[in-house]
Amino acid sequence: MKRSLKVFAVSLGFAAWTITAGAQNVVKIGEIEAQTGSLNTYGWMSSQGMRMAVDEINKAGGFEVAGKKYTLELVNPDTQGNPQQALIQLKKMLEEDKVKYVFGPFLTNVFKGIEGYAKQHDGQFLLMGGATQIHYELGKPGNGYLIRTWNWDAGPSGFGTLMVDYLKKKGVKKVAMLMQNDAFGHVAGDIYREAFKGAGIEFEENWFEPGSKDYSAVLAKIAAGKPDYLFPGYTDAVLYDIVQQATQLGLTKFWLVRGSLGPALKNKDYIDDYVAYIPKYFEEAEKTEPKIGKFVAAYKAFYKTKDFPYDQAPLCSSSCYDHVYMLVEAMKKAGTVDDVAKVRAALEEFTYDGLWKIRFDKTGEEIFNFDIVDVQKGGKIAVTHVQPK
């Protein structure tokens, strides 16, 4: 009986030590993204990739920082694209879960919803999101917590500028934009008005009401102006309807900087050309890049599926799989898991060679290689690889 009690006491002590030690050696990382909802296009893949990376790192025994082993714990509730939900979730992460590294958001409206609160915690955590609006906040006083995990459209290394150059090489003279009348739509308008003007391409702006499904009227008006290319919307939620209705009205050439190839492939017999910015064309890269092939296989095994989300995977270039590994690498280089300023400085010092070649510029904005995918009638695809300087 006494022996049993001793064994029990020792076991209890060991369990308590294990739990305590475990709690000390866990780095919590958060994610503020829409995993469901009409705007989940950008958040869903991010969430999928992060889960995989966390699992891989933990299964490999974690990582060592300043002689101490750590594992990761992912806190990733679903914002559904709702700024209020995101704010509640971020508060819980920072105040209850004591998270110091938060990935996301990709949506500007969600970022605007959490920005005020996040700013109050500058210096206490890092927010690494792809939202367009984050670009305008980088480098401002009190915004040391901000890192943007997406290529910026404008500037010499901007993917938008390089995309416009690609169109210019095709001899395009006139582009008509059809954009949602909301915050991001107007940001896109401001950026591309200048980019097209700089390239000497005529640029016509058209807007549609959020929630629209029938674009016939505005598309008919655009078709009457005979543009060479249509630059439509920014999410697949509107692109499928726009591309279908545009082809019915004789607009068969598209150029877009956000959204997947899905609308082109669904309408492959009706389009003439569909030029899209795709961070990586996984269908091709899977065969030519061993790292991508390995990732695709790992994804299928992890999610126990035969289908790989080829249309969503390119969005993993923002706050996703590579970024978890980058963060771990930065913590190792910084020699700390708690000092967010040191970790941020370390993040800005190296180029990570993962699924993408990723680096951050001095303002904390990501620069990575991307593909321009050109889908032509019948579904024939040509890919141009671009490595911004």
Binding site: E209, G211, A217, K221, Q248
Partner: protein
């Protein structure tokens, strides 16, 4: 420009019939049960999802999927009428509250099953008709013909059958109709189921034209109610005209005015009509 205006006139008429089918459901339900059933928009959305699922999920041919979806939504409408709306007859506020609650439940269930990721059905009837320089997508023309026939059938049934005349009689004077042998409970349940079926049909046809999301019903019920009010609630052919007026106002308005606010153009038209004819355009012509 003329080509553009004629094209949008036709497009407005076609899109307007989708508003009209909902407006017809609104006007029938209000006339017989005394409530404005906002859940008809949710029934429409459900009809769209059921059709998409039967067609692209199970592989049932589209026409059969439409028929099955309409039957399903009619039965669903009947069940919720007997379970919920039966207790709100002629009580506008209670009916409104129940319908709003029902919308929340239906949308939540759709969200749970299919999430809010937009769903796109395969093209049922691709291609366009070209009339002169005017382009009309074949599927849109087909949807217009089907909805027009259903609206005409409804009008004919209401004016030329005993049940239809009983419905008119009940709408005008419930007590007198009951005294004349009209079985009011059966009539009310039948109209509720038929209105749901109309909404389900609207949704089933909608799925062949546009991508579907759980919130599509909210926009269409507002357009449907707008169309019914514009016509003057109670007028069957007026609902049809009301839907078309709103559809045309949006389509043609988007040519001459900023397209970013096209939902407002139908509303402006509604306000103008109500200022001139407060009871609606066709209020006297039932």
């Amino acid at each position: 420009m003329l080509q553009l205006v004629v094209g949008q006139l036709l497009n407005g008429i076609i899109v307007g019939t989708l508003y009209a089918i909902i407006a017809l459901g609104v006007t029938l339900t209000f006339g017989i049960t005394g409530i404005v059933n906002f859940a008809l928009g949710a029934f429409m959305m459900l009809g769209a999802y059921v059709t998409w699922y039967l067609t692209d999920g199970i592989g049932i041919p589209y026409p059969l999927a439409v028929a099955l979806a309409v039957i399903f939504i009619a039965l669903f409408g009947l069940v919720v009428d007997q379970a919920l709306f039966r207790f709100t007859r002629n009580n506008l506020i209670n009916g409104l509250i129940v319908s709003i609650g029902l919308i929340s439940v239906i949308v939540a269930v759709v969200l749970m099953i299919w999430t809010t990721t937009p769903q796109n059905m395969h093209y049922v009837l691709p291609g366009v008709f070209r009339i002169g320089g005017v382009i009309v997508p074949r599927m849109k023309a087909c949807v217009f013909v089907v909805l027009l026939l259903v609206i005409l059938f409804t009008y004919g049934a209401l004016t030329r059958t005993w049940a239809g005349r009983a419905a008119y009689a009940y709408a005008q004077n419930p007590e007198a109709a009951a005294l004349m042998g009209v079985r009011t409970n059966v009539l009310q349940a039948g109209v509720a189921a038929y209105s749901a079926a109309l909404a389900g049909l609207g949704g089933a046809l909608y799925a062949s034209l546009y991508s579907i999301t759980p919130e599509i019903g909210s926009g269409y019920i507002l357009k449907g109610v707008e169309a019914a009010i514009l016509a003057g609630i109670g007028s069957v052919m007026g609902s049809f005209a009301g839907g078309i007026i709103i559809g045309v106002a949006e389509g043609v308005g988007s040519i001459f005015l900023p397209s970013a606010y096209n939902d407002a153009y139908g509303l402006v038209f509604l306000v103008l009509i109500l200022l001139l004819k407060p009871a609606g355009l066709f209020a006297a012509n039932r």
